[in-house]
Amino acid sequence: MTAETVDSTPGPAPQGSPPKPAPDAAAKHRWRGEGIVLNVFSHGFLWVWTLMVGVPLLWALWSSFKTSGDILAHPWSLPTHPHFDSWSRAWTKAHMGRYFINTVIVVGFSTAGTMLFGSMAAYVLARFEFFGNRFIYFLFVGGMAFPVVMVLVPLFFVTKNLGILNTLPGLILVYIAYSLPFTVFFMTSFFRTLPTSVAEAALVDGASHTRTFFQIMVPMAKPGIISIGIFNILGQWNQYLLPLVLNQGNTDKWVLTQGLADLAVQQGYQGDWSGLFAGLSIAMLPVLAVYVIFQRQVQAGLTAGAVK
């Protein structure tokens, strides 16, 4: 609106020669013209990437409804008659159902454990002065800097000696331990930002430290706990290296990522392409659905560490 008014304002230039608008108007005008070109241009580029992301995912989904022969003959065609048998094949024969349940169990317990122990440690480190506080804090935070792959050999034998190798509880404990550095780091700085007065009032009223933490501080820290909770759920749901090394035993105990990797290898021998795509969809759809529903929180949770 303003730009148009500025444009139509007659400049001081005499009749006949092109009007010479004030410099700021000229700049605005130029930006405006540029803006329309840029708008088409930017939507164009943005759409190219949208298709690059969306098409492969949709392709996996619609291929799961086709027959294997159909996938091979016409990889781009839409399924003519949707076949659901590849889904039931993947769910039962390829045990994706079992892997799915195992993953839910592992991630459920490990995320709950990570948030409980991570918040407890972070609260103590953020709010109490005691000998060794800084040392413990940096011990945790230092864990963010080293690559997990480095400790594969000793970790394998530590879990073996503890008798938790190839067990779901073992995987849960390892997930918790390796999620603690970031959780403690983030939650410590989160607890520092909360006001101290409420907790002090509770203590004066005779609440114990433990009760103050669970009934006052945890509800106050809810936004931080949700962000980091989502971060941990996704990280642990998608973990591949740790189960590959620490859970290579009985296939009954495998998690989804292991099952899917195995399915990809098996499919090479059996030629069950639609089963593979159904397996891919089983691994992909729940996460995408949860993400679309909670996208605001998920985006905030995953970028939280970097924006700080």
Partner: protein, 308 residues
């Protein structure tokens, strides 16, 4: 009261610290110790052999080859990912048609683009790698990419993507970029949205165009976020385990052109005669490379903060 405080501190720290000490710190320390032994699946007794494993690594061509691939990933993947992330974020935030007097505006549907771009971020690397393995399928009729090229008449570009030693690594790096761009679009978008509109208003009046604006205003103000993004991407590039293990032909092939240090470590520890000592030494080498990268990044990115 004081007594209660210490009991509380110990009570809250005991479990997380114990878990962390047993499953993270102790394997970390043991890794150094194991790296000095000849421990392997064939010699279950550990003998200290000094720095022999490190000597062998230094003279091992496969290790240098794998490390070189990690360094290539470290140089190329973050640059391409961050550049695309910045480009799309700028398009989202500045590419819109202006309404009223606003000098810059986001494109319509920015929320939609961000949701779609973020999809790969919530999927596991396993899902992404298996999906792309199918897209790169070398068969001219079966593979999504090859059949697409066939449909548009570019049959000459059809390749055995992951089977050709000259492009296999590039194909894997492309998937790493594909998987991570969305995260940085969302991250940088949040950063750009927090740059006050008056700054854009001012440079517009000074006659700057959008390209200048991007390089002179947006980029310098996002410096900290970009630096953090660089560290995150560096960590992903230093790993690359799951991408290479799942996608490449023969675990790091063809002809080891896609091998990376974490995969070599895994193969050394759990395949080739279980050379635990050697694998542990590779772990220490990885730690050193990671620390060098971290120090260099911190050095390069240290600069005065711009407050706005």
């Amino acid at each position: 009261m004081r007594h209660g405080k210490y009991r509380f501190i110990i009570g809250f720290l005991a479990v997380p610290v114990a878990l962390y000490a047993v499953l993270v710190i102790s394997p970390f320390v043991q890794d150094f110790q194991i790296s000095l032994t000849d421990w392997s699946g064939l010699t279950p007794e550990k003998h200290y052999i000094g720095f022999d494993n490190y000597q062998k690594i230094i003279h091992n061509n496969l290790f240098w080859k794998a490390l070189w691939h990690n360094i290539l990933m470290l140089l190329i993947v973050p640059i391409v990912t961050l550049a695309l992330g910045l480009f799309f974020a700028f398009m989202l935030n500045v590419g819109g048609r202006r309404k009223g007097s606003a000098s810059v505006a986001g494109v319509r549907g920015a929320g939609f683009y961000k949701i779609v771009y973020f999809f790969p971020q919530v999927l596991s690397v396993t899902v992404i790698a298996v999906l792309w393995q199918q897209i790169y399928n070398p068969d001219p009729d079966d593979g999504l990419l090859n059949s697409l090229l066939g449909h548009v008449g570019l049959t000459s570009l059809q390749q055995s993507w992951l089977g050709d030693p000259s492009i296999a690594l590039a194909c894997i790096m492309a998937v790493m970029v594909w998987a991570n761009v969305g995260f940085y679009v969302v991250l940088f978008s949040a950063g750009m949205a927090s740059i006050p509109a008056e700054i854009y208003e001012a440079v517009l009046l000074d006659g700057a165009n959008r390209i200048t604006t991007f390089f002179r205003i947006t980029l310098p103000l996002l410096r900290d976020t970009v630096a953090t993004g660089w560290v995150y991407m560096g960590i992903i590039a230093m790993d690359g385990f799951a991408f290479v293990q799942l996608m490449s032909v023969n675990n790091g092939g063809p002809n080891e052109v896609t091998d990376v240090v974490p995969l070599l470590l895994y193969k050394t520890a759990f395949r080739d005669n279980s050379q635990y000592g050697m694998a542990a030494a590779m772990g220490v080498a990885m730690l050193i490379v990671t620390l060098v990268f971290a120090v260099l990044t911190l050095r390069l990115s240290r600069r005065e903060r711009i407050e706005f």
